[in-house]
């Protein structure tokens, strides 16, 4: 890690003003402990500064052009916009809960499972969890989030949830460019299970940056399927930090589908802390134009007899940038670990770039760990075969690319969502720029 540096800039000044605004607006609404925590986090953020490309973890992902667009915290709201049009299509996927600019909206489909984080944090047991999996020390993004988060949800699942839960983050860009910081705590109790879909929507013409931090505990024998749907127009940007801890025999499936948006940086981490836990991470990037999609994954094996598997695929066209950084950490005690990682990329345009890096840190000796990465173009033999049956070049390419992508969407356990994603992908593949 390079030395942290403080940059004096309008961007930082804006963030300092944001902090002052946050402090003022939360006066009287939150506990002194939370105030203190936000203050510490802000100090840490100021100490660290915004990571630059000199920072190893941000080498290929430059935050500055994004932040230079100028984002403000959402203004104080007088009346709620109608979200019917935004929410209706999502109801096909499951029960919908919605957040507007980080605030949980009332009249939710599922009031028993979750409540606003701000409310939950008054309870010491929830408050103690804040920052346990995602500490702000040394992490500018989390520090920024901790200092400024508007709100979020505290979600606790104690049984088997058969119907998926869809949490939509609506960002109101009607009044200009906004940055919304969301913070979520999630507990899947022992033996319980949940499928959670996270999706982002933007209202209006402004650009919207979501800085989302989620800390999740998956209990013994519990299972979580987390689907991150990034399919919004290019005015939607996101920096996500999803820290998940897996207890004994817990299971995690994380599926990230990044097929729309401007700047997307995802930092999921699965920490396997109980024996027999299993984490499966899947990711799909489909990017064109000037889109940037960065998947920075961490899988940490802390104890023995756990399994993990990662498959990330990307199709890059236009001037887009893809980044995959897959860190696998096997701690000294984690014998009999089995960890796999694969990253497959298809680059369609000479102006598109992919930066891919496996990062294996293995401190145990009895482990099975493999990784592989490919960067290529479409299979020429397959293209010729399809064309020789009458498919146009474009059609053949679209068919092959869709097949490549669908290996990931096939992991999505919700049929309607899978269908929507595949249709969206096919549409993108048939538009001009891609293929």
């Amino acid at each position: 890690m390079t030395t942290p540096r403080v940059e004096r800039s309008p961007i930082l000044e804006q963030i300092a003003a944001d902090f002052a605004q946050r402090v003022e607006s939360s006066n009287g609404h939150s506990t002194p402990e939370l105030h203190a925590l936000r203050r510490q986090a802000f100090d840490e953020f100021q100490r660290l500064g915004i990571p630059t490309v000199r920072h190893e973890e941000w080498k290929y992902t430059n935050l500055f052009p994004l932040l230079a667009k100028g984002f403000h915290l959402p203004p104080h709201r007088r009346e709620l916009p109608s979200l019917d049009a935004v929410l209706a299509p999502l109801r096909r996927w499951g029960r919908v809960v919605s957040l507007l600019d980080g605030l949980l909206l009332p009249h939710q489909d599922e009031p028993d499972l979750l409540r606003p984080l701000s409310e939950a944090l008054r309870d010491q047991r929830w408050f103690e969890r804040l920052g346990r999996l995602a500490p702000f020390e040394g992490n500018a993004i989390v520090a920024w989030n901790t200092a400024l988060f508007a709100d979020g949800v505290a979600l606790r699942v104690t049984n088997e949830q058969t119907e998926p839960l869809v949490a939509v983050s609506v960002l109101d860009g009607r009044g200009g460019n906004i940055a919304v910081h969301e913070r979520h705590l999630l507990e899947v109790a022992p033996g319980a299970s949940l499928t959670l879909v996270l999706v982002q929507r933007v209202l209006g013409e402004g650009e919207a940056l979501l800085n989302q931090v989620l800390e999740g505990w998956i209990g013994e024998n519990a299972s979580l399927t987390l689907v991150l749907v990034q399919d919004a127009p290019q005015t939607a940007h996101a920096i996500t930090t999803h820290e998940l801890e897996l207890a004994r025999s817990a299971r995690l499936e994380l599926i990230t589908v990044s097929i729309g948006g401007g700047f997307l940086r995802n930092m999921p981490a699965a920490r396997l802390v109980g024996e027999g836990a299993d984490a499966q991470l899947y990711g799909l990037t489909l990017a064109d134009g000037s889109m940037l999609v960065d998947h920075h994954t961490t899988v940490e094996h802390r104890v023995a007899h756990c399994t993990s598997n990662e498959l990330y695929k990307a199709i890059l066209d236009g001037r887009s940038t893809g980044v995959f950084n897959g860190k696998i950490l096997v701690q000294p005690n984690a014998q009999k670990t089995s960890a796999y990682q694969a990253n497959r990329n298809i680059v369609l345009s000479s102006r598109a770039t992919i930066n891919t890096k496996p990062q294996l840190e293995i401190f145990a000796n009895d482990v099975r760990c493999t990784h592989g990465c490919t960067v290529g173009r479409l299979d020429r033999e397959a293209l010729f075969y399809l064309r020789s049956r009458g498919l146009s070049k474009k059609e053949a390419e679209a068919l092959l690319l869709a097949a490549f992508a669908e290996e990931i969407t096939a992991k999505v356990p919700i049929e309607s969502l899978r269908t929507d994603l595949n249709a969206h992908i096919e549409h993108l593949l048939h538009t001009d720029e891609l293929a």
Binding site: D379, F384, L386, S388, R389
Partner: protein, 256 residues
């Protein structure tokens, strides 16, 4: 006699600096089935690939007319839409693309070209079932990825199944018989025979007389070093089987 479906005149093709086809001449008429034999490396697959439009080969001389149209200036897909079909020597595996999706896209593409409406899901399913039965392909294959994990014999039968679906004007079979056991050979041959018609022609590349016992050719050619050096009736295949290629290649060398 009718116009030929395929007319090849003095066709030369090369890869890089190596000339592989060195002046091929061939006329194939409607209803005919021509067998092309010849030793390994003589250029049989190259001829098939050049006809199908593979871009690795550069045609340096000659012309090919397909139903009177200049074949060589068409893209591979245009050739297919005009009715040319190549059963590959090595069919390609296409993970993630189901046989049904693939064939439906291909068939509707051909139908569009012929000015026909696309088939609806029901009609298409029925047609698949009917044609699959012709080469004893199990309907469970429809949802499987194209050729993925198919045995060698299944891949070859799948090629003939596609042929049956797409109903080409000219079908080129590149060693469809190799790698087949006796039963599968019989199935493929029966399939081909069922698909023979007065409006369709076949070009069957093979090493073995065995196949030609089932699929009886009208004409047999020997391709050698990029040229057709001998053409004869079906008995020529038997003679080759008995005497080997040396018998014809020696005469060829004399002729050169």
């Amino acid at each position: 006699m009718a116009e030929p479906i395929l007319r090849i005149r003095n066709l030369h093709a090369r890869v890089g600096e190596t000339e592989i086809l060195r002046g091929v001449n061939l006329d194939v008429y409607p209803g005919q089935l021509h067998a092309i034999m010849g030793p390994n490396g003589s250029g049989k697959s190259t001829l098939a690939a050049v006809l199908a439009g593979r871009e690795d080969y550069e045609v340096t001389e000659g012309e090919v007319l397909f139903d009177g149209k200049n074949l060589l200036e068409m893209d591979p897909e245009e050739r297919a839409r005009e009715g040319l079909f190549l059963a590959f020597q090595y069919p390609v595996e296409i993970p993630g693309v189901s046989t049904a999706t693939f064939l439906k896209t291909a068939l509707n593409e051909l139908r569009k070209h012929r000015g026909q409406e696309p088939l609806d899901a029901m009609e298409f399913m029925n047609l698949m079932r009917e044609r699959a039965a012709l080469v004893k392909i199990d309907p469970t294959f429809f949802s499987r990825s194209v050729n993925e994990g198919f045995s060698g014999g299944e891949k070859k039968r799948n090629e003939i199944f596609q042929l049956a679906m797409l109903e080409p004007r000219l079908a080129i079979l590149d060693e469809t018989d190799s790698g087949l056991d006796i039963d599968a050979l019989k199935i493929v041959a029966d399939g081909v025979n069922a698909l023979r018609s007065p409006a369709r022609a076949f070009l069957v590349i093979t090493h073995y007389q065995r196949l030609l016992n089932y699929i009886v050719p009208d004409v047999v050619h020997v391709l050698y070093r990029g040229r057709i050096i001998k053409t004869g009736p079906k008995e020529l295949a038997l003679e080759l089987e008995a005497k080997g290629y040396e018998w014809v290649t020696e005469t060829d060398e004399v002729a050169l």
